[in-house]
């Protein structure tokens, strides 16, 4: 599966547009990690607990988007975008979306 943030795949011709595909997830860390993160907010620096939380969410959203694209017979996803928001304190929502396409072989 080719993933591109551009509107086309360089060097390849788009044969058919399958349509919008997306994947999303909302994840959180456990209370112990939230407590550690709270103390790190007091002293500054990177909060690894939340870096990891965002990374987990990003990859899961991406996998879900790719799974949908595969299920619909696509070869690639173009115009890939990520967006995130906070549903509740300490949880991260991540959405990956793009246009699934079939490429000329």
């Amino acid at each position: 599966m080719i993933l591109c943030t551009t509107d086309n795949v360089p060097g390849r011709e788009i044969r058919e547009t399958v349509g919008l595909v997306r994947g999303n997830t909302v994840r959180s860390r456990h209370l112990g990690r939230d407590i550690s993160a709270g103390f790190k907010r007091l002293v500054g620096g990177e909060i690894e607990e939340y870096t990891k939380l965002l990374a987990e969410s990003r990859e899961q959203a991406l996998d879900r988007m790719m799974a949908e694209a595969r299920a619909r017979g696509a070869d690639a996803v173009v115009g890939l975008r990520f967006t995130s928001s906070e549903i509740s304190a300490g949880s991260a929502e991540f959405v990956a979306y793009g246009t699934a396409v079939k490429l000329a072989h």
Partner: protein
Amino acid sequence: MSANIQEPSREQLLAMAYVDGELNEAERADFERELSARLDLRREVVQLRRLELLARHAAPAEPMDHEWRRLERDPLHRGSTLLGFAGLAVGAIGLAGYGAWSLWTSTMETTPKLLLGALCLGALLLFLATLRARLRTLPFDPYTEIER
């Protein structure tokens, strides 16, 4: 090279192809039917997904990572973290128990006492059910390995 390296079985090859999205629609449907019926196959797929995520995230270590690993091994850091969390846990459980005992022995009327008890018991049961669900699904969550 060892001569004991085993060739992957047909089932393992199918699981790899499934994780990599190389199965056609009919093959995928067949495999997913098998997957829904077999716990060992689900575990195999999760392991392969973990491996695929690891390969995708073969990020080079940063200087700070080594310092974090060193700190994690440091007895003072480990001890203070452990004692800190133990203190929080003992304090929280102790306060909850003291609160429950104070309520039980208070002069409050029986009805609000029972309602408050039901509220606390309900919250505890919901928490335990959620914790059980998380512990049951944790082995099937490959994303916990991702660092950044």
